[in-house]
């Protein structure tokens, strides 16, 4: 493999990381504040994708704009879901089985709604942008991926700003750190929970809209993204937003390079062995397990420790 090939791989890994980060952020917010592992995240991604599609198809709205429009729409939707279902869950500072199962049930319902409304077709969004690439010598970068990457980065920055600069962000962070202490200092945890859930849902819808630009989607669109989100959140630290970016980067790099980089292997003499492409998903999962065992608080937790002792 030449240097150019490596560069191409790196670039596609980076772009992939952007997408993964956008997709995982919604889940992190909800987990951090409410300690709910949101399995319905897959359903929100799917709805976000269809939302962007419908806006594109009916009103000819640019899908990126559509994804941005998904933010307020899904924010309200998330508030509604919280009010209807989530607020009845028992509060806890660790995840409960009930929350897991509730969100799973809700996901099934969302899937079925998807089937009823849109049928079994695989929808895609086709714009002139979709298959065009930016060519720089031997390196080609798909334009859509760039757009999605940019949007993802912007959304992460936005979230970070909200978390650090706004009242709401501050209450969110305090609840993430210690919900009981937060209540003592006067944070309305019910309101914070509702807004956080809404925010997480909004980002999920946004990510879904972005994903619609890249992949075809059907109502059972969620599971591979859901599982990857898990890996990212664990890698990045279950409670850290900037950790998500890091986790996404690691996952994307691992997935991309694991099957393209030769490992030395001894079999009648030293040869280089390429991991067969079909093992690629296993890599992410093994990574997940290793990360859990070795770095229970994720990479961000490790860094945090370093900072604290410094």
């Amino acid at each position: 493999m030449t240097a150019v090939d490596y560069l191409n791989l790196l670039i596609s890994a980076l772009l992939l990381a952007g997408i993964y980060a956008a997709m995982a952020v919604g889940m992190t917010v909800i987990y951090g504040v409410m300690k709910i592992v949101n399995l319905a995240h897959a359903g929100f991604l799917m709805l976000g994708a269809y939302f962007a599609y419908e806006l594109f198809n009916r009103f000819h709205i640019n899908p990126v704009v559509g994804a941005v429009l998904a933010l307020p729409f899904f924010f309200l939707f998330g508030m509604g879901v919280h009010w209807l279902l989530v607020r009845w869950l028992p509060k806890s500072d660790t995840p409960t089985l009930s929350s897991l199962l509730l969100m799973f049930g809700f996901w099934q319902v969302l899937q079925n709604v998807g089937y009823l409304v849109w049928g079994t077709e695989a929808y895609s969004i086709l714009t002139p942008l979709t298959i065009s690439s930016l060519r720089m010598g031997q390196i080609s970068v798909p334009k859509v991926s760039l757009v999605v990457f940019a949007a993802a980065v912007v959304s992460l920055v936005l979230l970070q700003v909200i978390m650090n600069r706004s009242w709401f962000g501050r209450s969110m962070r305090s609840v993430i750190q210690n919900p009981y202490a937060a209540q003592i200092v006067g944070v309305d945890d019910e309101k914070t929970a509702r807004l956080s859930f809404a925010l997480g849902t909004a980002f999920a819808g946004f990510a879904g809209g972005l994903l619609a630009l890249l992949y075809p989607f059907t109502p059972d669109f969620g599971p591979p993204f859901l599982l990857r989100s898990f890996v990212i959140i664990v890698l990045g630290g279950l409670e850290s937003v900037s950790g998500v970016a890091l986790g996404a980067l690691i996952l994307a790099l691992t997935e991309t390079f694991s099957i393209n980089v030769p490992f030395p292997w001894y079999s009648h003499g030293w040869t280089s062995y390429y991991l067969p492409a079909s093992y690629q998903p296993a890599v992410s999962f093994v990574l997940l397990v290793v990360a859990l065992l070795v770095l229970p608080k994720g990479i961000a937790g490790l860094l945090e420790k370093k900072w604290r002792t410094a």
Binding site: T94, L101, V286
Partner: protein
């Protein structure tokens, strides 16, 4: 037994506890002779298989409180082991033993590293293990890879033999679960579920206990997979190792009533019979119904159907006795098994 109960009533209760399941077993065993339709036999068979897996998961997840999302690993390994052994000429019952053994081995391999993790981390790790196993199995050639593996059937199909195997194994699973639940080991598991550190403080070794119950749970689930494989004669990784399968195995005891033996059985019944009827009669909305059922259970009766029945019974009893005394179960195990409990 609670105070205020007459000794004869206690005896009656105990007798019913043992006698009733035996009666049910005898009825089920005799049904084929009394002319059971092929379709009903098939449904009962599926129910029995699911019940075994459900009881297995319940031991780890319900009693010990360690929620695993990766039980498909044991189900699948059990299925493949039985399939491979039958094709190699072994008797199916010996093959089932092999399935249990392999599942137990796998449970140690998985449990040794992951039981050091707590709460959600353990659950997520099990997801990782489950999916990694599926992908690896997809790539192994000797077991057919992603194309799946087929058992070569000799002789005519004997549905009754499959039925009795499943029924026997289900009875075994109920027996094992009851014994574990009622034993000192079971008590230790419940202590771990409530508060692992407190349990350790009073002399329980959580790590070892978790490993052992994991082994028993895996063995039962492996047997379920083996029985299924023998019946279906074709298995493939995308089916028996699927994440969906892990979820199904988890959902059964939760819907039926997590932590209780009868809850796990009820969950198996629901999966075996109700799910198929839902799919058949409401093909377009079965996911919706299924999800809604789950949501309703979580919101209104986290203890599953058993909890629901208990509540009804309590209301019944309160009307007749008006004792106002609290349910001894409540005192021992808190208001709800599911609610507010750590993963």
């Amino acid at each position: 037994m609670a105070d205020g109960m007459k000794p004869s009533r206690a005896l009656l209760g105990r007798l019913l506890k043992v006698f009733l399941p035996l009666l049910l077993l005898i009825i089920l065993a005799v049904l084929p002779q009394a002319g059971l339709s092929a379709n009903l036999m098939r449904l009962l068979f599926i129910t029995a298989v699911w019940t075994i897996a459900s009881l297995g998961w319940n031991l780890l997840g319900g009693l010990a409180g360690q929620v695993s999302f990766g039980f498909a690993v044991f189900y699948g390994l059990g299925a493949y082991t039985t399939a491979l052994m039958i094709n190699a000429g072994r008797s199916p019952y010996f093959a089932l033993l092999g399935s249990a053994a392999i599942a137990v081995l796998a449970s140690f391999l998985i449990g040794l590293p992951t039981f050091r993790l707590r709460g959600p981390y353990f659950a997520i790790a099990t997801i990782g293990v489950g999916e990694a196993t599926r992908v690896i199995m997809n790539n192994l050639d000797f077991s057919g890879g992603a194309s799946g593996y087929r058992i070569i059937e000799h002789g005519t199909f004997q549905p009754v033999a499959h039925y009795y195997t499943a029924l026997g194994a289900a009875a075994l699973a109920v027996g094992v679960s009851s014994i574990v639940a009622g034993s000192k080991f079971g008590l230790a598991l419940r202590a771990i579920k409530q508060d692992q550190d407190a349990a350790a403080a009073v002399g329980v070794n959580p790590y070892l206990c978790k490993l052992w119950v994991h082994a028993v749970a895996a063995a039962l689930t492996g047997i379920a997979g083996g029985i299924y494989a023998r019946y279906a004669a074709f298995i493939y990784p995308g089916g028996v190792f699927a994440f969906q399968t892990s979820i199904s195995i988890l959902l059964m005891p939760v819907i039926g009533g997590i932590g209780t033996v009868w809850g796990a059985v009820l969950g198996g019944v629901i999966f075996g019979i109700v799910e198929e009827e839902l799919v058949v009669n409401f093909p377009n909305i079965h996911l919706l119904l299924y999800g809604s059922l789950l949501i309703l259970i979580i919101l209104f009766e986290p203890d599953g159907l058993v909890g629901l029945l208990r509540r009804v019974a309590r209301r019944f009893r309160r009307r007749s006795e008006d004792s106002g005394s609290s349910n001894p179960d409540e005192v021992l195990w808190g208001r709800s098994r599911l609610e507010g409990r750590e993963l």
